[in-house]
């Protein structure tokens, strides 16, 4: 037994080294740098925060846009959760996949979808002029509207998944009892359903808030000069103004805020588990959705189809509109003016993206797999929980901050990784491995321990048991985790952008660059690249949905 524990720990060592070197150390460097350098006077932080109104206005905007995004996502998401929880309808699983699609979509693509949707001669513009509303100024629409819409689209599935699971498990009996005791549907909703859903709604709200709070790609591309989140500010301070120390201070502040929210979330999750501890047979009922006149149902379906899919439709539409057909746009893309100073090779971007995704998904699976094996230990649950939380650290470190940490940590002798592809791969691996753990760990934990005991009694060696029992039972999880990590890397924007060098360009960065340059050729190149990106992510996503068992690999 003791020997096995030591072996287990020994196997876990690479994970500790990896996390120490590439997460803890960069974050420590952030701390270190924020208290040193040109701000070496003792009260530099306070000075900075006291005298810089711009930073405060960004903090303020970041907070309230996240708050507004959360409220709006909840208003739209809760009826959707009701639809998924209480009804069976044709194409339900397809719809379930569709709502999750934006969540895995690269933010760049969502942004470009919205730009296409509302631009001059975009889908909305043409539809409006078709029905005789020429005067409507689509371009006059405030960037904030785009940002909020994109956040809703991005986070809708979080609300659906978290809330609908709890909703569909509410015991029908409780509603019957309430009804007999004289409660009308308003009473039942406000006094039974809502209080039971409350922890789930709050938990979803915190996640939505966190994702909106750290929003980068969407705000960078849709916010213009007017709107900027802390993430965008960190990026601009780092790459445009070379104020690394200021960026580091803001990054630290941001990380602290995020961990406060993560902590509240975990506390709520605990409470949530306790509240539903009443153990008796639950009666759950689902109705077939036939000619339902319910407004909520109609509302949800409209949201599903329009908000979720319209930006993607608009993207394709835009490509057709600009270039007449798809083909031409692709041809344009690849016979691009190579002599231009601003030229970014699409081939290089695709090559880089694939290379980074392959290598980083391999590292993610290695780290995530070992970590899962370690976390699956049934002994010392408290310690395991602590390590689990520790391993989930990257979820609370925004990509831009991670990139900044890398810049600070690995740009100096003896380890100077500036301009090396290794940093990007490492950043992608770090962002990817929590997804791998969330895919593999549930599968390992689902293996009944009796299986191991029987195998042990039957005389199987550890390696033999691993090969004949563990591997066949978890390979799906491993595969799902790999594809997840691959898709995350392909679509990753924040860290790729802050660590950008011309020869390290990836597809999302290329799209961003194309859009930043004038001319239809650049736009159509950006659009075409987006289409490639969407296809890759879509295929990964379909594979994931096909392979994974119910509930496995759902990381939120």
């Amino acid at each position: 037994m003791i020997r096995r524990d030591i072996a287990r720990f020994f196997i876990f060592t690479p994970v500790i080294i990896f996390i120490g070197a590439f997460i803890i150390y960069p974050v420590l460097m952030l701390f270190f740098r924020s208290f040193s350098g040109e701000f070496s006077t003792s009260n530099n932080v306070i000075d900075l925060l006291r005298n810089n109104n711009y930073i405060w206005s960004v903090v303020w905007f970041t907070l309230w846009q996240a708050f507004l995004s959360t409220i709006l996502t909840l208003i739209i998401g809760i009826p959707g959760a009701y639809l998924f929880a209480k009804y069976n309808f044709w194409g339900k699983s397809l719809f379930r996949s569709l709502v999750s699609l934006p969540f895995v979509m690269p933010t760049v693509v969502i942004a470009i979808g919205f730009i296409s949707l509302f631009s001059t001669n975009g889908l909305v513009d043409r539809v409006f002029s078709m029905i005789g509303l020429d005067g409507f100024q689509v371009n006059g629409v405030n960037g904030l509207v785009f940002i909020l819409l994109a956040h809703i689209m991005f986070n809708y599935s979080i609300v659906i998944r978290i809330v609908s699971v709890v909703w569909e498990n509410i015991d029908e009996r409780l509603l019957e009892v309430a009804s007999i005791l004289g409660a009308n549907w308003m009473d039942i909703f406000s006094r039974i359903i809502l209080p039971i859903l409350y922890p789930a709604i709050l938990s979803a709200a915190i996640l939505v808030f966190m994702f909106s709070f750290t929003s980068f790609g969407v705000v960078l591309m849709l916010g213009g000069y007017e709107y900027s989140t802390l993430e965008v500010l960190i990026y601009q301070l780092t790459t445009k103004m070379f104020r690394l120390e200021t960026a580091a201070i803001i990054a630290i502040v941001q990380i602290l805020i995020i961990y406060i929210f993560l902590y509240i979330n975990s506390v709520l999750q605990q409470k949530f588990i306790r509240d539903n501890g009443l153990s008796y047979r639950r009666i759950v009922k689902k109705e077939k959705l036939v000619n339902s006149k319910s407004l909520i149902v109609l509302f949800s379906i409209v949201i599903l189809v329009f908000v979720m899919l319209l930006p993607l439709v608009a993207l394709v539409d835009r490509i057709i509109f600009i270039s007449g057909n798809y083909l031409e746009s692709f041809i344009n893309l690849f016979k691009f003016r190579e002599h231009s100073y601003f030229f970014i090779s699409p081939w290089l971007a695709i090559f880089n993206s694939l290379k980074f995704a392959l290598i980083s998904s391999f590292i993610s699976v290695l780290i995530g797999g070992i970590a899962s094996y370690y976390l699956s230990s049934k002994k010392k649950q408290n310690r395991i929980n602590l390590i689990d939380a520790f391993l989930m650290l990257p979820l609370g470190i925004p990509a831009v901050v991670l990139g900044l940490g890398f810049l600070l940590a690995y740009s100096y002798y003896p380890i100077d990784l500036r301009g090396s592809w290794v940093v990007i791969v490492l950043a992608h691996s770090i962002i990817g491995y929590p997804f791998v753990i969330r895919s593999i760990l549930p599968m390992i934990n689902n293996i009944p321990s009796n299986l191991y005991n029987s195998a042990n009694v039957l005389g199987g060696s550890t390696i033999y048991i691993f090969r004949t029992i563990t591997i066949p039972l978890i390979w799906r999880g491993v595969l799902v985790g790999t594809i997840f990590a691959f898709a995350v890397s392909i679509g990753e924007f924040g860290s790729s952008l802050i660590l950008y060098r011309k020869d390290l360009v990836t597809i999302p960065v290329a799209i961003y660059r194309y859009l930043g340059q004038p001319g239809d050729a650049n736009l159509s190149a950006g659009l075409a690249m987006s289409l490639i990106l969407v296809s890759v992510v879509l295929i990964s996503f379909i594979l994931i949905e096909k392979i994974r068992f119910r509930g496995v690999g759902s990381f939120y």
């Binding site: 409780l174 019957e176 009804s179 007999i180 005791l181 009308n184 509240d275």
Partner: protein, 359 residues
């Protein structure tokens, strides 16, 4: 009349569960619905509560037709087997729920809940989380919650079904006394005969899509009209029989264990020759004889399979022609030839035989 159900019909997917069912419950009466599992006892309660729509017939509560009134307006109380306590509320809020939906004054709610808590020996439990209660405590909270808004009728669906035997015995006594003191009208579903005997003013037997017999426990016990009622009452020794000879008051039935002669049997007028019927043989009307002096009428050869001690009598399991018959022999009448494995004579007293017309 608090509850009047007339001509009730209910179908599930074209399959009738009740057909033309009638049931009347007087004020303050405790009626127990006794029936095998799956006959729709729970469904009947759900129909009365308004949780299921009625297909045909009428349900009246206090003389008012409630067919189209939603359950929230019917003014009834119901307690489910699985209780359905609100997990997110404490004991007080659970009990107060029905009063709060009626927008009662705060003082009144407090007084009523306190009254119920003390009535059900739950003093001091108001702030408890319902997850922390024992099974019996949960049961009492659910009962208090159903009683709180002064329901016209209380529907109890196997209220003690999930408890173990000793706790059931204690609680059924308490519930009976409490509900009688409150003079509340109750419809109580169970499948347990003993529970029904303790609780019921009247027992209504549900079978064959309707109420087949209703009466006081003594009434139905002494005079079950149907074999299915007898079975629910725990009667053993029910045989399939066929009338093969009828002459004045003398009847001969052909049964699984052989021919049985019966004389002066009440209610056999409608039994015709060669008609299938069911015979019940009272287990205390069975005498066990030494094999050597047994050649009388209604005497059969049997093997003693088992002897079970039942307190003041022994239950003897007899095997006659491959069929099990139970005899009840007082301890004082123990004979030396009554031993497991012995072949004995069995004499059936024709006065202890009853005939049912149903199948």
């Amino acid at each position: 009349m608090v509850l009047e159900i007339s001509g009730l019909t209910k179908c599930y997917e074209n399959h009738p569960i009740f057909q033309n069912l009638n049931l009347f419950v007087e004020k303050g009466e405790m009626v127990v619905l006794l029936g095998a599992s799956g006959v729709g006892k729970t469904t009947l309660l759900r129909l009365i509560a308004g949780l299921e729509p009625v297909d045909q017939g009428s349900i009246k509560i206090n003389g008012k037709l409630v067919n189209n009134i939603p359950s929230s307006k019917r003014g009834i109380g119901m307690m489910f087997q699985d209780l359905g306590l609100f997990p997110h509320m404490d004991v007080f809020s659970n009990i107060a729920f029905g009063l709060r939906t009626k927008k009662e004054m705060k003082v009144n709610i407090h007084n009523r809940v306190d009254e119920l808590l003390s009535m059900l020996q739950l003093e001091g439990y108001g702030n408890r989380n319902v997850n922390q209660l024992s099974g019996g405590e949960m049961q009492r909270v659910a009962l208090a919650r159903a009683l709180a808004p002064y329901p016209a009728i209380l529907l109890l669906d196997e209220p003690l079904g999930s408890l173990d035997r000793p706790l059931r015995d204690i609680l059924q006594d308490q519930i009976r006394l409490l509900l009688k003191d409150l003079n509340i009208t109750v419809l109580y579903v169970t499948h347990d005969r003993d529970e029904a005997f303790v609780v019921a003013d009247k027992i209504a037997f549900v079978d064959n899509k309707r109420i087949i017999q209703i009466g006081t426990p003594m009434d139905v016990y002494n005079n079950p009209k149907y074999a299915s009622v007898a079975k629910l009452l725990g009667f053993k020794n029910i045989l399939k029989g066929k009338l093969i000879h009828k002459e004045d008051d003398n009847l001969i039935f052909q049964t699984q264990i052989g021919d049985i002669f019966v004389k002066n049997l009440k209610g056999t007028d409608m039994i015709k020759n060669s008609m299938d019927s069911k015979l019940y043989i009272d287990s205390s009307g069975i005498k066990i004889l030494d094999i050597r002096n047994s050649s009388d009428q209604n005497t059969f050869i049997a093997k003693i399979r088992d002897i079970r001690f039942k307190g003041d009598y022994n239950e003897i399991v007899l095997k006659i022609s491959g069929y099990e018959i139970f005899a009840r022999i007082p301890i004082c009448e123990q004979r030396s030839y009554i031993n497991i494995g012995n072949i004995v004579g069995v004499k059936i007293d024709s006065k202890g035989v009853r005939v049912f017309s149903d199948l």
